[in-house]
Amino acid sequence: MKKSKIFWGYMALALVIYAVVQVLINNGIVTFYYQNMLITMCINIMLAVSLHIILGITGQFSIGHAGFMAVGAYVSAICTMQLELPFVTGILLGAIVAALAGLLVGIPTLRLKGDYLAIATLGFAEIIRIIFLNIEYVGGAAGMQITHQTNWTYAFFGVVVTILIISNFTNSRHGRACISIREDEIAADAMGINTTYYKVVAFAIGSFFAGVAGAIYAHNFYIIQPTTFGFLKSFDILIFVVLGGLGSLSGSVLAAILLTIVTTYLQGFPETRMIIYSLVLILVMLYRPSGLLGTKEVTDLFKFGKRGGSKA
């Protein structure tokens, strides 16, 4: 009973945040510039949280996340621009195709471990990029023009659904199975966990929400080009998760918010932008090597003494 109360509390909080920002947008207090920053923030949160389930929860080192984002972006763009389907249908189809791509890549590559898996997923993301680069139907290297359909409502509820489903997954026997794979794959196997199945499931769910993020991204910037989804984008997402703390959902959300703000404000200093950005990363890693929150969640910080008073 207590848990459902906390849940409705969070939902109410989310609705309040949504309503306040929406009112501010309607009144013109939040300008188009800041509205755009908020939407980018939402997209980054979705990307971070969707990689969190693969890397932070299941411990599979995937650095091809931009590939799944690209699939979501292009498929949704084809749906809305070429087939003239509604935007919501486009988001869903984009996400489903991205999840299928995740299954397709996951089943053969998840037998690999650590560095090998990283290289394989990196290779996959590049293949996706090259494919889109060479298809004239989606504009090739010149990119694909898309009408602006994303707004605060789509972006915000995209984030809410992503976080809700991924945290529901994590706090169940299925999520625990994934964490046990991260902690010790041999022991997990010996305890009756079908490790391949859960790795693939986590990979597919992660790809699904990367697809959602890609679809919302595609309809925000008027144009998508294959170069946007290069490996640097994959690394950006990876940085959100690592900086937030591997295994912490709220950590990756927090890191995505912070880094989006940092990048947005640094756009005024194009010459020194990457230097300052890198410095921020180096400093955080020096002083918080396990990420901003480690494996803890924001909510844990308010539960003093509940963990038996021991220091992790």
């Binding site: 026997r173 997990a188 010996a190 305890m191 494996t295 021991s310």
Partner: protein, 258 residues
């Protein structure tokens, strides 16, 4: 009622040119407590790994509960009713003590992925059943006071106990214990002996035990197998093993004849 639960026929495995284990024949009847001993490097843990599916045997047959299980995936072997502990503790360090046990309980729960993602009633029912059962296991091992503690923060002896609790939560018919008393002091070893005897009765278990502590092995095992250089050199009751010249030779070396 002494039907054969586990039967091993001329089991063997080679790693490259090394014959780690060869021609091992064993049987275990329902409800027996059997010891597997031998000097270091004799192939005891390798045998365990073959029984639990970690290694695929290169020769021989393993029959458990009437079914052939040689070379099956480890998680299938566990679901089939064999679970184990590890010689070098392999707990899920960053999970709480309770969650460690819940992970092993996973195979017995029914609620599926969709019900968990959308928080359907079957999810809540399934999760609270898991919680209840896992807490019951912790209570037996005196670990319920530590349930929210991270596994890595437990004292060593408690970690060993948690390993056994976790293995039990997978619902085995046959429990394989790989050096459960390693590193324990005599008092802890004594408590562990009583605990093993208790769970065996309570859960109607068959137990195979690897152990170097001869006091423990001789004290509770009904039959003992002795491995040396990958081969079985003796089998019998503790008294027989104690006076077997081959066993003495394997442990202490040959007698010098003048």
């Amino acid at each position: 009622m002494s039907e054969t639960l586990l039967k091993v026929d001329s089991l063997g495995i080679t790693f490259g040119g090394l014959k780690a284990v060869q021609k091992v024949d064993m049987y275990m009847n329902q409800g027996e407590l059997i010891g597997l001993i031998g000097p270091n490097g004799a192939g005891k843990t390798t045998t365990f790994n073959m029984l639990t599916g970690v290694y695929t045997p290169t020769e021989g047959k393993i029959t458990f509960n009437g079914k052939s299980i040689g070379g099956l995936d480890p998680y299938k072997v566990t679901r089939g009713g064999i679970s184990r502990t590890f010689q070098n503790i392999r707990l899920f360090k960053e999970l709480s003590v309770l969650d460690n046990v819940k992970v092993a309980n996973h195979g017995l729960a029914k609620h599926n992925l969709v019900s968990s993602i959308f928080r359907l009633p079957s999810h809540f029912k399934g999760e609270s059943k898991m919680e209840e059962e896992s807490l019951a296991f912790l209570k037996i091992f005196g670990l319920d006071v530590y349930k929210n503690e991270l596994a890595k923060n437990l004292p060593y002896g408690m970690q060993r106990r948690l390993e056994i609790a976790r293995a039990l939560a997978a619902g085995p018919k046959l429990l394989l214990l790989d050096e459960p008393a390693a590193g324990m002091n005599p008092q802890e070893t004594h408590d562990l002996m009583e605990l093993i005897a208790f769970i065996r009765k309570e859960f109607n278990l068959t137990i195979l035990l690897i152990e170097h502590d001869m006091h423990l092995v001789m004290g509770i095992c009904e039959r003992i197998y002795v491995l040396d250089h990958g081969q079985l050199i003796a089998e019998g009751s503790p008294a027989e093993i104690r006076s077997n010249p081959k066993v003495i030779e394997a442990y202490l070396g040959e007698e010098v004849t003048e």
